[in-house]
């Protein structure tokens, strides 16, 4: 209950405060979103598998966002930023779809 309220509060804060994303941070925002979605789906699946752990969830979320941003940052410096972003999105996208499929199997038994 409290975590759900926290999620709603986070969304509300983001919507109300309209945080101005600095220009240098903007290339990493899409990657951060994909990493966040990955962590979210992973968490839901773990919950359904009965092995959910709050610490793992938070740490994986934060580290996913940071590592994804770091990879893209390095790529930008080395001139392969766009390719690495694509790579990150593909890998995380595969994981998201896999976890979504597992969630679907849990929920609908199909």
């Amino acid at each position: 209950m409290i975590p759900a309220l926290a999620l709603v509060a986070g969304v509300a804060l983001g919507l109300v405060f309209e945080p101005v994303v600095p220009l240098w941070l903007q290339p990493y925002l899409p990657i951060a979103v994909v990493a966040a979605l990955d962590a979210m789906f992973g968490g839901i699946r773990a919950r359904l598998d009965g092995i959910f752990d709050a610490k793992v969830f938070v740490v994986s979320f934060v580290s996913n966002v940071l590592v994804a941003a770091l990879i893209v940052f390095l790529g930008d410096k080395l001139g392969v930023g766009a390719q690495l972003s694509t790579g990150v999105v593909v890998v995380l996208g595969i994981r998201i779809f896999g976890n979504a499929a597992a969630i679907r199997r849990h929920l609908f038994r199909a």
């Binding site: 409290i2 975590p3 759900a4 309220l5 926290a6 999620l7 709603v8 509060a9 986070g10 969304v11 509300a12 804060l13 983001g14 919507l15 309209e18 945080p19 994303v21 903007q26 925002l29 899409p30 951060a32 979103v33 966040a36 979605l37 962590a39 979210m40 992973g42 699946r45 773990a46 598998d49 009965g50 092995i51 959910f52 752990d53 709050a54 610490k55 793992v56 969830f57 938070v58 740490v59 994986s60 979320f61 934060v62 966002v65 890998v91 595969i94 994981r95 896999g98 976890n99 597992a102």
Partner: protein, 337 residues
Amino acid sequence: MIRGKGEHAEGAPDPIVRRALELRGDEHTSHRPRIGNMSTSLLVELFTDHLDKGYAAAARRRKDESPKGRRRATAILAVGLLLLGFVLAAAYRATLRQAPDSERARQALVQDVQSGSALSDALQRRAQQLSGQLSRERDSALTESRAGDRTAADVRRLEAAAAQRAVHGPGIAVVVGDASGTEQVDPNTGQRVPVPADDTGRIQDRDLQSLVNALWAAGAEAVSVGGQRLAPTTTIRAAGEAILVDLRPVQSPYTLAAVGDPATLLPRFADSDAARRFQSYTGLYGIQFTVRAAKDLRLPAATDPDLRYASPVAAPTTVSGSTPGSAPAPRPSGGGR
């Protein structure tokens, strides 16, 4: 499942894999064969293990289900979800704000261009009005004496030569246009985008120049390009990819209107080198080129030339006597052709 794959690899006919297994010494490997540092499991893992390994590890490790531990877990989860929601909302906001920004900038630019060209059009109309009024005033002032009549005829002749009067009459209209580009499906967006034809199919400023010269040579009395009347000092030139006639841009397809007797103008123009060349270009490069006779063409006056030598009379009190004699002499008209 993993072992199944390993056994499959063991029976694989690939000599490199067999050799690698021999080198390892244990053929009943519990994992996929490793060749050097390369693990064939990387891609398989990517497609099969979607869940973070940490969850399983934590589940194995977790023994204490004390209320204190659970409360701490809830707090951590709450903070994590707060962050997650914040990131998602911030990204949503940023995207939402960005899109209208570019759209608004574009709209503002379009509006600027539109109001600018509207203002320019209005000024042009006003200038035409004023020059019409001016010539009317001058004509009425000149009709008072015989010398004035002669001067007025001179002025009219010079004005016609300098394209300072709107004219209308029969003539021919030549339409010439760039080769039409093909359409292609953009691989990124899936939208159909027009692909401009390569430069060989694009009309250049010198093409229009040669056509205009052919029209003059065929006996045209007045010529306009894209609605811009050509005066003796008018230039047709390129600026980037646009063609400017008298510093105003014209766009493909270009309509060249020439006033003159169509009975002589049409055959003479059609027989000219330029026309024949363009006729062959239609087949070669796919450009557009048509010539037709027109009953009544209306050509506007050219924009006023910058007077380089004439200057306004200081005190316009004695209009009738002195100005008619002195005005035509310093006119810089008649130049070019």
